[in-house]
């Protein structure tokens, strides 16, 4: 009797273990999310991806041929800011040990280039969601058969980032001219001492005079400077109307706070990554008022019908406005999934063939993959009216509001672009005295 009881207990236990171990949904689509997970960029990658996965799985999963598959995410810390070796190990592990079907993420260009090679060796579709250098996509054009599995998910390449900044400068310059009755706007260029800013400074010095404005000087504080009063004193002496900023690090807070304290009679326009964050107002003790920076998302702005639901849900879930690396959401939900469903398989070649020719709406605009001058696919993102433009946002009395594009005409004869939720730019009141 005792033996029978033991035998039955063993049988029931084995059945239970098998029942628990085997997923109800059978095969899942494994997506590797790779990024610097201990940094805000990696957190954006992961947050965007889990939002997309939850949304897809809540609807029953992805229809792959006759089978319904759920999305399973695999988180991978690339640690790419500190070690490129770590990043390549992480992607190798994702592909060969975790056996993911697709990969999204990546941030630092040098690391993305190395990771790209490993993904291409294994013919895995890799949607880059962070690195902006054009070279990553030029590889697709140069060696299509090898690199065709790479697509840029976000942001548009750095050449377009520069053009957008200049568009912002032109936009604010026109307002200054009109409101302050200035014949010629004077611009001070202030860029942190970092390699990425070097070509932008050079380009700005060449382009600003062509835009009908004067450059009064170039200042290059350290990217981690905690005091920039010397630079601000010199800038104040040069009497600019506009300060064209290029900040990606903490100097963005220092500069804005001290410029606000000194009430420098010039408006800050350009790139200030710290000013894109919700904590900027608190960090500058309100002195960052009227700072204008480029951004991808803002509260209350609708680039299209997908923007508001995405931004609102993201804020509700994570308590902050999404950063651009959270576009892993679009890469999965609007990039991968519709194409998997359309081809009815996880075959990378079939998906690539369809994806590179498809256009799709995403919360930040509309995605269309570019071809180069010779007609070769680059899998890079198209920039401009009707596609991706990003936003110009400004801090106005404690709120980060979107101010651009507002009646923006990209080129003579081009359609005027204004997104829903735009508000007028505010000039610092101390400039009007």
């Amino acid at each position: 009797m005792k033996r029978v009881t033991f035998g039955w207990s063993f049988f029931v236990t084995v059945c239970l273990v098998i029942f628990i171990s085997v997923p109800v949904w059978g095969r899942t689509i494994k997506i590797g999310v790779i990024g610097p997970m201990n940094f805000v960029q990696g957190k954006g990658h992961w947050n965007g991806a889990i939002m997309a996965a939850d949304e897809i799985n809540a609807k029953g999963g992805v229809q792959v041929g006759k089978e319904k598959m759920k999305i399973e995410l695999v988180k991978s810390d690339s640690n790419e800011f500190l070690s490129m070796t770590d990043a390549t190990n992480a992607i190798e592990r994702l592909i060969t040990s975790d056996k993911v079907d697709f990969i999204v993420g990546g941030f630092r260009t040098e690391s993305v280039l190395a990771m790209q090679d490993i993904a291409m060796d294994n013919k895995k579709i890799f949607i880059g969601c962070g690195a902006a250098h054009p070279e990553i996509c030029l590889r697709v054009a140069k060696d299509y058969n090898r690199y065709k599995y790479f697509f840029r998910g976000t942001p548009f390449h750095s050449g377009y980032l520069v053009r957008t900044s200049f568009a912002h400068m032109g936009f604010v310059g026109a307002i200054l001219k009109k409101e302050l009755n200035i014949p010629k706007v004077k611009v001070a260029i202030v860029a942190e001492k970092a390699v990425w800013a070097d070509p932008m400074v050079e380009a700005a010095q060449g382009v600003i005079p062509k835009m009908g404005m004067d450059v009064v000087g170039v200042w290059r504080p350290s990217d981690k400077a905690t005091d920039v009063t010397a630079e601000l004193a010199a800038i104040q002496k040069a009497e600019p109307h506009m300060i064209f900023t290029m900040f990606s690090a903490s100097v963005g807070i220092t500069f804005s706070r001290q410029a606000g304290e000194l009430k420098i009679p010039a408006i800050q326009v350009g790139i200030n990554v710290e000013a894109q964050k919700d904590g900027f107002w608190e960090a500058t003790k309100g002195m960052g008022n009227y700072v204008f920076t480029m951004n991808t998302y803002a509260r209350g702005v609708e680039v299209n019908e997908l923007t508001k639901p995405f931004v609102d849900t993201y804020i509700k879930r994570f308590g902050e406005v999404p950063t651009y690396t959270a576009d892993t959401y679009s890469a999965i939900l609007h990039g991968l999934v519709p194409n998997i469903e359309a081809v009815g398989s996880l075959d990378a070649d079939k998906i690539v063939a369809r994806m590179e020719n498809e256009e799709s709406n995403v919360p930040s605009g509309r995605i269309k993959y570019e071809k180069d001058a010779q007609g070769r696919p680059t899998h890079d993102l198209t920039w401009g009216p009707g596609y991706l433009t990003s936003l110009g946002v400004q801090w106005q009395d404690g709120k980060l509001v979107a101010v651009w594009p507002n009646k923006w005409v990209a080129a003579p004869g081009a359609p005027e672009v204004t997104y829903k939720g735009m508000v007028p730019v505010k000039i610092p009141p101390w400039m009007k005295k």
Partner: protein, 346 residues
Amino acid sequence: MVNAGFYLKRFYTIVRGEVLVLPSRIIVALFFIILLGLPLVSQNPYLIRVVILTSIFAILAASWDLLSGFTGQMNFGHALFFGVGAYTSALLNIHLQISPWGGVPLGAVAAVLAGLIVGIPCLRLKGTYLALTTMAFPIILMGIVFALPDLTGGELGISGLRRLSNSLLGNYYIHVVAMLTLCTIMWKITDSHTGIIFHAIREDELAVRASGINTTRYKLLAFCLSGLFAGLSGGLYAHYMRIAGPSTLEVSMSFSVVIWAVFGGLATIYGPVAAVFILFPLLEFVRFWPEYRALIFAVIVLIILLYMPEGLIHWVRDKIEKECPRCKIRNVATRNTCRICTAALD
């Protein structure tokens, strides 16, 4: 057949008489066997990748030990040699289409020249001053890299390099055999007459000079030899990663090498190699807890250095082996008398 039997018997006698008598030698033999036989057990690309990179960094760590551990020339800018090897090999591969088999040794030659360039002005410096001065060199080179983006690729580095082999196993054996060979050469150098002089320079340079030895020449030799091996590891790294970028010159790279060497035990060659083979895979192992990876790594290193200030391998060796007070020959710790002179060991 008779000859084969003779050699087998001789091999067995050597193994029994020279290898199996000491635990440390058994561990080294097992290390060789496991590394060379690993692909027979598993060909997981991730595992193979980790072992290849570990091997490359083991060469780098041992090359630092050759300079700083043996001669006491504290070099905090070892990434310079690594970066010079990587960039030179990459430039030759991309611009002159030189095969990696030619590029890697030429990169090492360039690193030797870098060793001379660093060594000559640093000869008068010692201790902290030398450490800080050497730390500046990779930063200067990084500035040059960024200043010449058309040649060096700037922040992107030089990508699209060819690998030494296109097969997984080919790459594995090239890097592992290179590591075993180069580290054995370094160990033999330190065990030679030159190595004894390196040791002596670290202990008392004045006494060495008083003995009529040109210490300047030997210190320069140490810089060049260290540069040669570090340059080889840099070239191997660049071709394996298929990119030579500014990260090869980062300060963190220089400090990683110091951590590995100190963790394993200075002035041993095998200590830094063992440390890399423990610490590098350990960092991969703790990927399951990404938020605390760096913390776990730091805690382990701190605990080891707190309780084993001379390094892990020195400590382990002292636990499993004893040195004969009379003839200085090492014996297994369980013996009561020396295996050579039969003197009492306690």
